[in-house]
Amino acid sequence: MERTAPTLERLDDDRMIVNLGPSHPSTHGTLRIVLELEGEYVLSATPEIGYLHRGVEKLGESLSYAQFVPLTDRLNYCSSLMNNVGYAQAVEKLLDLKIPPRAELIRVLVSELARIGDHIVCVGINAVDIGAYTAFLYLFKERETLYDLFEMAAGQRMHTSFTRIGGLFRDLPEAFLPLLDQFLESMPRSIDEMERLLTRNPIWVDRTKGVGRISAEQAIGWGYTGPCLRSAGVAQDLRKAQPYLGYDTFDFDIPIGTCGDVYDRYLVRTEEMRQSLRIVEQCARRLREVSGPIIVDDYKVALPPKEKVYTRMESLIHHFKLVMHGMDMPVGEVYSATEAANGELGFYLVSDGAKSPYRIHVRPPCFPIFSSLNEQVKGRLIADVIAILGSMNVIAGELDR
């Protein structure tokens, strides 16, 4: 069924400007879209962003490198662990630091769990916006377990601040792996349940297939990364293409779509959840074998353990020096990218050797994707705007920074 805007001659002049947002239930945070409508058809869509702009990059210029970690939680708050990992990795690249194997493993584990959590939100909310509430409920039951896991690991459900420069804040507690095993057992069933509700559901297919179609060239040109790019048929995943954290030692596949529409994005995200589960399984197995420190043994970068700080003079001095004066940073600039749930999450750091970064820039994955909204929704029904917006997985926290 081809749905494009009728020509002007066919309609009376009933153009209308409609404000979608800034606080609309389907706008995923505070973002506003000014829609120019003719009947139910969209003539143009002008996104207005910045409602959640906190000036994160400016704040970073007066914080030490370690102090910036909590601000990364608030970028993509649906998968804050991955932001923590991405940022820590950028600073470690600047320092030319190698983190211990167990820390790498736990970083992979929490990243993949966060990816599953992010996709649950994206797919679930996309379905809710279109009118399918049940899939959302089935998945959110699992998300609750995920957040319990995050809480066990980091002590916090949403704002985890789990990574430190050079490793992690702490090792996983003993109860973590048993609960993870439970999750690994129940999650595939929940994905199956969700797929039974959606994948061949005629209403879901009708609302998503062919909606928001984009070619590979267009997607690349618009700066698409992550599931939205892969659903357009480009097999680009930084975990495979530019492996970091030892992703090349894991066995997993990259799902790709064909036409980049909302349905393909849904299928890609669903399959990515299963692939992430595979990685998590391998991680859980290896974690039982790999032991060792979870942070580098270099007190010029990482704080010494508290027992030592209270009992040894050197450690006390190291602690004091690190907190008051920060790390010895080299002069230079790096761009470090990780594959976050939405796509390439990049951190561009410029150091002039001082305690705080001279410039810190975040490249949020949904920023370029959202900038193509007008191209995607022009000529379509207003209801399609909601479907497309949901599939883009725009997170205002990282969009506006």
């Binding site: 230079g332 600039e333 490249r363």
Partner: protein
């Protein structure tokens, strides 16, 4: 290497280049930026991931405009830099790379660097009447007079924040 190919395609365009931690940076002239974008596109750097800027307020020229390109085939990354003075415009890359659209608007918004040939160069994150450009180093950390309506003076250096200027 991409630097030699750039140099042979457009002699004199590369002013400087260096590599740090595996990141390749090329500093180029502003004048032929659009043409250079075409050359890079032809060389396979078809994705412009990001545009941003750095304010070196004591240096002349004051700003670095920084572009991050990705070659999806060879997975090479390239950082392109142009140096501009305050008020000097940079040619927009929106013609070849649609993803430059919002990124350039963001740089314009937060640094006040204009882009010539941009189809819709307006503030992106901040509102229209916002005075000044917050990511400049001389913008006051407390936000200055930004929240006091009616004052659109953009020179902020050395001025205290007062509610009644």
């Amino acid at each position: 290497m991409i630097i030699e190919r750039l140099e042979s395609a457009m002699p004199g365009v590369v002013l400087d280049h260096h590599s740090f931690r595996g990141d390749c940076t090329v500093v180029v002239t502003t004048a032929n930026l659009v043409q250079l974008g075409d050359v890079l596109f032809g060389e396979g750097f078809q994705q412009l991931l990001d545009v941003t800027a750095v304010d070196w307020y004591e240096r002349d020229p004051r700003f670095d405009v920084v572009y991050h390109f990705l070659n999806l085939v060879s997975q090479e990354r390239l950082r392109l830099k142009v140096q501009v003075r305050d008020g000097e415009a940079v040619p927009s890359l929106t013609g070849r790379f649609p993803s430059a659209d919002w990124s350039e608007r963001e740089v314009f918004d937060l640094f006040g660097i204009p882009f010539t040939g941009h189809p819709n160069l307006e503030r992106l994150l901040l509102w229209k009447d916002f005075p000044g450009h917050p990511l400049r180093k001389d913008f006051p950390l407390d936000g200055g007079d930004a929240f006091c309506n009616g004052d659109t003076d953009t020179s902020y250096a050395g001025r205290a924040c007062t509610l009644n200027p």
